[in-house]
Amino acid sequence: MPVYRSVRVVFQNSTNQVLTVQGLATLRGQWTDKMAPRQGDEVPPQSAVTWMTESTTIGSGTGAFVRLGSVHGYTRLSWSLPWVGRFDFGPEGCAEGLRKEVVIDDKLPDAVVVFCTLHDMRRGERGDDC
């Protein structure tokens, strides 16, 4: 079955905290085989993980969210790639003292890649990204 839409999220934990997956769901489409987060999965400090969702249904895009817990609170990543329309990566939800940096590669509009890095906020920095 062809994959019509897909989003690959590469998440880099550039903090010194362990992040724990504490909530996840697909809103459209499904997790790609072997690339789904699981409740309780850990993202160790200074490491990266990749998650991916896809749609194999004509007329349906793909979208999902992952909520990550840390000692400072919760960080939420969400994305939506509609069948027709612009890709959206939700900027909301960052734990206190952390900031997200997001790079979106949509050169292939049906197969978007997102590189999201979570950093410790530097002294005096404001968390505008979140």
């Binding site: 019509y4 004509i58 790639l81 027709v84 329309g85 509009p109």
Partner: protein, 133 residues
């Protein structure tokens, strides 16, 4: 084997990075020909091409049909109509969503058996056009 009296080859060259998905199609006159009729869900990969054939083997019947193809920017509609009598009254219509554009050309060396070539391209930004002049 019946003789093909009228035919329209529709060649779509996808010069974009859009994955194109055939979502609906129909022949109003004539039949789909080889290699195969379109199927819902068929894809035209990025930077690749596809071809469909609408043909008529019946005296007095021309060819007419349409394709509707989806991509992330919207829908591409292609339709054609070539009557049996007075083939010079052939018409076609192509529409593409705004960020995309198309080029169209015909091979009508054999006026009864026409090839329509549609090339899907990314619309040039005004700044790009200026830069290349």
């Amino acid at each position: 084997m019946q003789m093909v009296l009228r035919s329209m080859d529709v060649v779509l060259q996808n010069n974009t990075n859009e994955l194109l998905t055939v979502e609906s199609f129909e022949v109003l006159r004539g039949d789909w020909g080889p290699p195969a009729p379109p199927r819902r869900g068929d894809v035209v990969e990025k930077q690749s091409s596809a071809k469909w054939l609408n043909l008529s083997t019946q005296e007095g019947v021309g060819v007419q049909g349409f394709l509707r193809i989806g991509c992330t920017k919207g829908y591409i509609d292609i339709s054609w109509n070539m009557p049996f009598f007075d083939v010079s009254r052939r018409t076609q219509h192509v529409s593409v969503p705004p960020p995309l554009d198309y080029l169209i050309s015909f091979n009508d060396e054999n006026i009864d058996l026409v090839v329509m070539m549609i090339t899907l391209v990314r619309r040039r930004e005004a700044s790009e056009t200026t830069a290349t002049r």
